[in-house]
């Protein structure tokens, strides 16, 4: 392959990874579970005693600040023209909520007129009055932006907030003028505003390039620390299962193609077809049931001092059983496809020529038919490896193994998004690497690919 082609492929590889992982990251930040403190996600189901709403709001705000979620999400954001105008006018933080709502609904000039009178009034008002009136204005603002307002409530929201200063005062008149005005239509047009590099996505990308995948929200451990042992378990499990499956499929395929008519071949192939149609979780449960029925236990593997070397892991009954399950998932498809591939080669001209010229069937098979079957088999193997991720997940949950699959599911269920995004990146890299490796290997093994 030319240097240019390799470069283009690498570029495509990185762009795919970057787009997908960024997409997953941005999505995860938009989920409500990410923006709520742990244990406070279901406001109606949790018990907070007598803590008032203002304190709860303040605590949620503190959480967002602590996690850096108060920053904008991306470099730019799409807001309405009205909102971007309000931002540019930079209302003081304690008045920002109602002033923005007023500007968006009623337009800039009436709002500014009211706002200057408001600021003058605030200078001479007592702190209690100030607080009370701000609360009323903020409650009005919340109603204005609420989506599910009944017609009566919508009507009421245009009226003067009850108890707001003396009637006939300048402030009330300005408020009435404000209510009568309507913002021009273009205030609700979407507009792209630049947020700068101080945003959540940029921070995440920066840390990613320095090798930091973030910290788990569950137990404060770095994401890489959590992924490494899980990766070890899953790889060991998958490799053992895959190696067993490859060996068995290889010899089964050879035997079936050499003795297509024998009773043994017929029975085995029927059995493999049935095994292929049984769902993976049923196979896993059946193996587990048989193991438990024979008195096995999953807890007996624990070493006394709590340490676990790869050797310990390999002898773990859960791991051995899981590898057996993985092998059983994969053997039917591999062996049947391989057999079919070999039988196909038997019909080829070169095969007949070789036999006709006096080559033994065995030598023809090993020297000529097998290399020709290798290319399609390699493609099937790469497909199987990619689909192993799903099989590994099923098996890990059944046998309570703490591998990538369980870690992934748990991170989604417990809203541990840094781990989830890190794992997505890893699995994506894995998938793309397998595809690239297969392409590369095929190019080397199959001379016909070089001419394409």
């Amino acid at each position: 392959m030319s240097f240019q082609k390799v470069c283009l492929q690498l570029l495509r590889f990185f762009l795919t990874v970057w787009f997908t992982v960024s997409f997953v990251f941005l999505l995860s930040q938009l989920l409500p579970a990410a923006r709520s403190p742990k244990g406070m996600q279901e406001a109606d189901a949790a018990v907070y005693g007598s803590t008032n709403a203002e304190t709860l709001q303040r605590i949620r705000g503190d959480f967002l600040k602590r996690m850096g979620l108060h920053l904008p999400l991306f470099y730019s954001s799409i807001t309405s023209y009205g909102e971007s105008l309000a931002k540019a006018l930079a209302f003081p933080p304690e008045d920002a909520l109602w002033a923005t709502a007023a500007l968006r609904k009623h337009g800039a000039s009436p709002t500014l007129a009211f706002f200057s009178l408001w600021q003058a009034w605030v200078k001479q008002a007592t702190p209690t009055e100030k607080r009370k009136h701000r609360e009323l204005l903020n409650a009005w603002a919340v109603q204005v932006v609420a989506t599910s307002l009944s017609p009566e409530a919508k009507e009421a929201s245009t009226l003067f907030p009850a108890g707001f200063t003396k009637s006939g005062s300048k402030l009330e008149l300005a408020w009435e003028t404000l209510q009568k005005a309507t913002a021009p239509v273009y205030y609700s047009f979407p507009v792209l505003s630049w947020e700068g590099t101080n945003n959540i996505y940029h921070q995440w990308l920066k840390s990613l390039f320095s090798g930091n995948l973030g910290i788990s929200t569950q137990d404060h451990s770095p994401v890489l620390d959590k992924i490494k042992p899980a990766f070890q378990v899953s790889v060991l499990l998958a490799l053992t299962g895959l190696a067993t499956a490859l060996l068995v499929s290889f010899f089964a395929g050879i035997h079936f193609s050499q003795n297509p008519g024998s009773l043994f071949t017929q029975v085995c192939q029927k059995f493999l077809y049935i095994l292929d149609s049984i769902p993976g979780f049923l196979i896993a449960l059946a193996i587990f049931a048989v193991y438990l029925a024979f008195g096995g236990s999953l807890s007996s593997s624990l070493p006394p001092d709590g340490s676990s070397t790869p050797w310990h892991l390999l002898l773990d009954p859960a791991l051995l059983l899981s590898s057996l399950c993985i092998a059983l998932f994969v053997i039917p498809h591999l062996s049947l496809q391989f057999t079919r591939g070999l039988i196909e080669q038997k019909d080829r001209f070169y095969h007949r020529t070789a036999i006709g010229k006096g080559l033994s069937p065995k030598r023809t098979l090993w020297r000529h038919a097998l290399p020709n079957t290798l290319a399609p088999t390699l493609t099937i193997i790469s497909e199987v490896i990619i689909s192993l991720v799903a099989g590994v997940l099923v098996v890990e949950i059944t046998f309570s193994l703490h591998g990538i699959g369980s870690l992934y599911t748990n991170s989604i269920l417990t809203a541990d998004y840094p781990v989830m995004v890190g794992l997505t990146l890893l699995l994506l890299l894995f998938r793309l690497a397998i595809v690239a490796l297969t392409d590369f290997t095929l190019n080397i093994l199959d001379p016909r690919m070089k001419t394409i």
């Binding site: 409500p32 709520s36 403190p37 742990k38 244990g39 406070m40 996600q41 279901e42 406001a43 109606d44 189901a45 949790a46 018990v47 907070y48 005693g49 007598s50 803590t51 008032n52 709403a53 709860l56 605590i59 949620r60 503190d62 959480f63 602590r66 919340v142 609420a146 989506t147 599910s148 009944s150 017609p151 929200t217 569950q218 137990d219 404060h220 451990s221 770095p222 042992p229 449960l285 587990f288 049931a289 438990l292 029925a293 008195g295 236990s297 999953l298 807890s299 624990l302 709590g306 676990s308 859960a318 949950i397 046998f399 309570s400 193994l401 703490h402 369980s406 748990n410 269920l413 417990t414």
Partner: protein, 573 residues
């Protein structure tokens, strides 16, 4: 010579065999549905995490699982309560015997540190800050290191438990360099923002927010009877009883000081089918939250009846359907009452829970005999009555559905019902409700959503009906955050818009009422009002279906989580 060798070998073998390790008591094997992920005592977590932390750490007060009473645990007695102006003062005296694993005594200093950690910035403690916001200060006594007074704002009866319901953490582990110890609690609260920016505190926060605090057996240590001896993530957790636990000296006659098992093994088996297999082959001694169908099958099977005792203990988890009273077409209580008449509660209990649920008329558990309104019955399933109520509310049945004129607008009674996707129980409740509503000509659109998405929709009041489970307890009847009109605004917990000035007053009085007889009168009135308004259609209180091996004696099951008191269990050899 041969004889001599054989004899000596025989003697050696005999000696080796007799020198076995002292026979260990058998361990109790319990199933955990999910790995706790973290055992950090400060950050909130799942039910398995809280269960295990309760064996490792202790609070000043504890709830006795058998009779549901509040008992002093680290405190020597129940607190002395003083109410002055708008503040309340809870004075505790820590037990003289209480000590940490390193031999140092548990003092008021440790309690103060625990409260400071709950209120500090930069830590994963928002949930506790919200819950313990009422604790404003703590007073220590230089002459009595074991005495302390917790200063709270306001007073409600639930504070009698809540003021002592937080884990007391060892200062020698959580503040070895006395960073927080030098700052009074009031200052931590008042100077929250400036503390968050100080460099000393930032490095202290990163010390607290480290992986070792959540997982390492040398950090996860409290004053409780058990210690974490082994944790294989996702598979198994082993708790061993401490050999010289201080509580042994005071345990006589005190049920909250039980620690009978010497070893508790928690097996993490997320898959229900795999867990049932493990139970049936006696790998587990206890499994709870067993699904209905396998539970009924096992109960019928003679083989399992010989090996296990089956319990269905009532819990305080209440399944209900919420109705959005903020929407104009659901604003009047007659429409909501009509919808309540479309729910067939006995059928739901029988079909979905196998009879293992407690029907209820309101928010009080029927087993709380003093407070439950026995004379009030839940609305029966009655399509005719629903029809009559809708007509009374102004709805007219047309070929295109139920319609009503509301001012200038025409309203149609088509409702969306939100439930948790993947939860088959909620799905079945939704389907049965839809079926019943259809018989009356009301169209219901079912929406299966993820839990946090439902939460968001509820927060924005953007829904018609929803199915949820309320997790309750028998200690707190303070429903202000759930049902007071001050919490009906967007973002508040009163998502259904329930409430009138009369119910607000009832809620406020109930929260403060000390006299049980008077409280009962008020609670019964509240139950009547809630049924009248029907913003929530209460379905049933769930029961926790458990199977416990017959090898275990002194079994205590309870409605309080985790549903059983393993510290009392004795496993026969």
């Amino acid at each position: 010579m041969k004889n001599y060798c054989a004899n000596s070998l025989g003697i050696i073998f005999f000696w080796l065999l007799s020198c076995t390790a002292p026979t260990q008591e058998p361990a109790i094997n319990i199933r955990l549905a999910q790995d706790p992920e973290s055992l950090h005592p400060l950050s909130p977590g799942s039910a398995p995490k809280i269960q295990i932390l309760n064996y490792l750490f202790q609070s000043l007060l504890a709830t006795e699982l058998k009779d549901k009473s509040i008992q002093p645990l680290l405190a020597a007695e129940l607190p002395l309560i003083e109410r002055k102006d708008s503040m309340s003062y809870f004075t505790f005296e820590i037990r003289p015997e209480a000590q940490w694993d390193n031999g140092s005594p548990v003092t008021a200093h440790d309690v103060a540190l625990s409260l400071k950690l709950i209120h500090s910035p930069l830590l994963d403690n928002e949930r506790w800050r919200a819950q313990f916001d009422f604790i404003k200060d703590i007073k220590l006594y230089s002459s009595h290191p074991k005495r302390l007074t917790i200063v709270c704002s306001g007073y409600s009866t639930e504070m009698k438990l809540m003021a002592g319901d937080f884990f007391v953490l060892p200062a020698y582990i959580f503040d070895p360099n006395s960073v927080l110890s030098s700052i009074p609690l009031k200052l931590v609260r008042d100077k929250f923002d400036s503390l968050a920016t100080s460099n000393t505190f930032k490095s202290y926060a990163s010390f607290i927010n480290q992986k070792a605090m959540a997982r390492d057996t040398s950090f996860v240590k409290g004053s409780g009877p058990y210690r974490l001896s082994n944790w294989k993530t996702g598979q198994i957790l082993i708790l061993d009883k401490k050999s010289n636990w201080w509580g042994n000296k005071v345990s006589k006659g005190k049920s909250v000081f039980n620690s009978k098992p010497s070893k508790i093994v928690f097996q993490v088996i997320p898959d229900n089918a795999a867990a049932l297999l493990a139970l049936k082959t006696k790998q587990l001694d206890l499994m709870d939250n067993i699904p209905v169908v396998p539970f009924i099958e096992m109960k019928k099977d003679k083989k399992y009846n010989q090996a296990f005792n089956f319990y269905s203990s009532p819990s305080y988890d209440l399944a209900f359907i919420g109705i959005n009273g903020n929407k104009s077409y659901l604003k009047d209580n007659l429409t909501r009452q009509a919808l309540a008449h479309l729910v067939n509660i006995p059928e739901l209990i029988q079909v979905l829970q196998g009879g293992f649920a407690n029907s209820t008329v309101g928010i009080v558990h029927p087993h709380e005999k003093q407070y439950y309104h026995t004379n009030l019955k839940p609305f029966p399933f009655d399509v005719k009555e629903a029809h009559r109520l809708l007509n009374k509310a102004g709805w007219k049945q047309t070929p295109a559905g139920w319609k009503r004129k509301n001012g200038r607008n025409d309203e149609t009674l088509t409702l969306s019902l939100l439930y948790r996707g993947g939860n088959s129980e909620s799905e079945n409740i939704a389907l049965l409700f839809k079926q019943n509503a259809q018989s009356l000509g009301i169209k219901i659109n079912l929406q299966a959503l993820e839990s946090s998405q439902i939460g968001e929709k509820l927060n924005n009041r953007d829904y018609d009906l929803f199915i949820r489970t309320l997790v309750g307890n028998p200690y707190s009847y303070n429903f202000i955050h759930l049902f007071h009109t001050s919490n009906t605004h967007t973002g508040g917990a009163n998502v259904t818009g329930f409430g009138t000035p009369a119910t607000d007053e009832l809620l406020e009085r109930i929260a403060k009422e000390e006299d049980p007889a008077e409280k009962a009168v008020l609670l019964k009135k509240l139950q009547e009002k809630m049924q009248e308004e029907s913003n929530l259609i209460f379905l049933y209180f769930l029961q926790n279906k458990m199977a416990i091996s017959k090898q275990i004696d002194s079994v205590v099951v309870s409605g309080i989580k985790p549903g059983y008191d393993v510290t009392r269990f004795v496993k026969k050899k």
